[in-house]
Amino acid sequence: MKKLINEPADVVDEMLEGMVAAHDLRRVDGTEAVVRSDAPVEGKVGLVSGGGSGHEPTHAGYIGDGMLDGAAAGEVFTSPTADQVSELIQACDGGEGVFCVVKNYEGDVMNFETAIEMAEMEADTEVEHVVVNDDVAVEDSLYTSGRRGVCGTIFVHKIAGAMAQRGEDLAEIKRVAEKATENVGTMGMALTSCVTPEKGEPTFDLGEDEIELGIGIHGEPGTERTELMSVDEITDHLAEAVLEDLELETGTEVATIVNGMGGTPLMELYVVNRRLQSVLDDRGLETWDAWVGDYMTSLDMMGCSITVLELDDELMELLAAPAETPGLTVPE
């Protein structure tokens, strides 16, 4: 499998160099964590996130006014280490503490928990966090390690980022981030596997007439393998799973994301959005904002996910607040 890389082992480091060369960012010395170049910003809570690489623009692509102050990049699909996350937290503390957005997956949770303890011990940093678990494909039961955190996390970044930007404190940010997490659901599917730089071959084999439903964002196989369907059928399936989980009343206002997994032409994502919006319309839901694009990817995987967020006035206002980052810009 061909890739635009030098050595697989260097890809994360070199990607970060390329990001810093393009955007208003800097590396935290000696780590694979990246922060806004003026971090820590005094007088506001620092907002950080992080996780494995390969999901670009997630995570560092959401650093900027109105969203994240910093992000830690692990190896491809591997949680960043606790000591790097701890350094990141400390680099983003402008005196008002730091809030971490963590995606539910054991590696991230374990490393962030350890990092938070370390930052509290080493630098007396006040830290709060939220664990996003929006993936409705996985049952949240004794038989799983809980629902995964996937593309809905971007809504949480945006909402928590707007809170931090307007000077809210840790407790308030936590309240709203938890509300957003409760209100959001996502379900994804793959037409193809992705190829990691290390392995250089598809993570799983998928026949020419097969697709995976209920995938995560790490190139892992999904919860179910089915025959290839038309995009309308696929969209119906994903939307139904999300809506069943959210149980929204008629007239509810929502924001949606049709997210590409990295290798999907934007053209196709718009075709998905066409159907999604008509499904929502049929159910009497009101789409207040619809995002279409690559927000949370799995390298070069072809496929998509659908995210629906239930809105109230507070969440609407926060989503509409200005943001200026490489991956998402909302003008005033």
């Binding site: 190896e75 591997t78 949680s79 606790a82 000591d83 590696g107 350890t114 995964r148 995560g216 892992e220």
Partner: protein, 210 residues
């Protein structure tokens, strides 16, 4: 064994493990491809290469070296296996502060298993490394405390036990780790973390036997 010999034994063991994981890198990644995210081989290989560098630089008693290996894993691996392997070595290393004896190795093994269970919130039967560790630790302790075997014999039994644990992971459904997302589809696949745990134990036995 005097302290110098013990320290050297730890270095030799870490080296053997690092070599073994380098050899098994692709195999572990293949296992992780089937029910995870295709990085367990790379994670373990990267981690133990760094661990080896660290124990080669570190002076001190065996506990210090094991701890250094653990720190290396925590700060180099990330993912789920980093905090599990690394954190457990760090914690369990405390049990070796009085040197490596039959008793301290039993305490080490139990502490290691406990830490994995705690951090991972996992129990036996969840289709994780715990399934390799549990029979191995139980067998080791029983062999030493009940059967009065030599540590090296006990370790041999523990390795056999771990192997059955690994085989046991195949036919069961995962409850923890990425494989749990697959639900019933996880059945029929061998757990990568249990497999790498077996390799560690096999290398320990090899080094101990030499």
């Amino acid at each position: 064994m005097d302290q110098e010999t013990q320290t050297e034994a730890v270095r030799t063991a870490v080296e053997a493990i690092a070599d073994r994981l380098a050899d098994e890198k692709d195999h572990l990644t293949d296992l992780d491809s089937a029910i995870g995210d295709a990085d367990h081989g790379a994670n373990m290989d990267r981690g133990f290469r760094t661990a080896l560098e660290r124990v080669e630089e570190t002076d001190g008693d065996p506990a210090d070296l094991v701890k250094a290996a653990g720190v290396a894993l925590v700060s180099e691996v990330g993912g789920a296996s980093g905090p599990l392997y690394g954190g457990s070595l760090m914690k369990a290393s405390q049990e070796l502060e009085d040197g490596i004896t039959a008793d301290t190795t039993v305490a080490f093994a139990e502490r290691y298993l406990e830490t994995v269970e705690e951090r991972g919130k996992a129990s036996v039967g969840d289709k994780t490394m715990v399934d390799a560790l549990t029979p191995a630790v139980h067998t080791y302790r029983k062999s030493i405390e009940v059967d009065d075997r030599e540590p090296i014999d006990a370790l041999g039994k523990a390795v056999d036990a771990a192997r059955r644990g690994v085989e046991f992971t195949t036919p069961i459904r995962a409850k923890k780790g990425r494989a749990s997302y697959l639900g019933w589809r996880s059945v029929g696949h061998q757990d990568p973390g249990a497999t790498s745990t077996l390799y560690l134990l096999e290398e320990l036995l090899d080094v101990a036997t030499e």
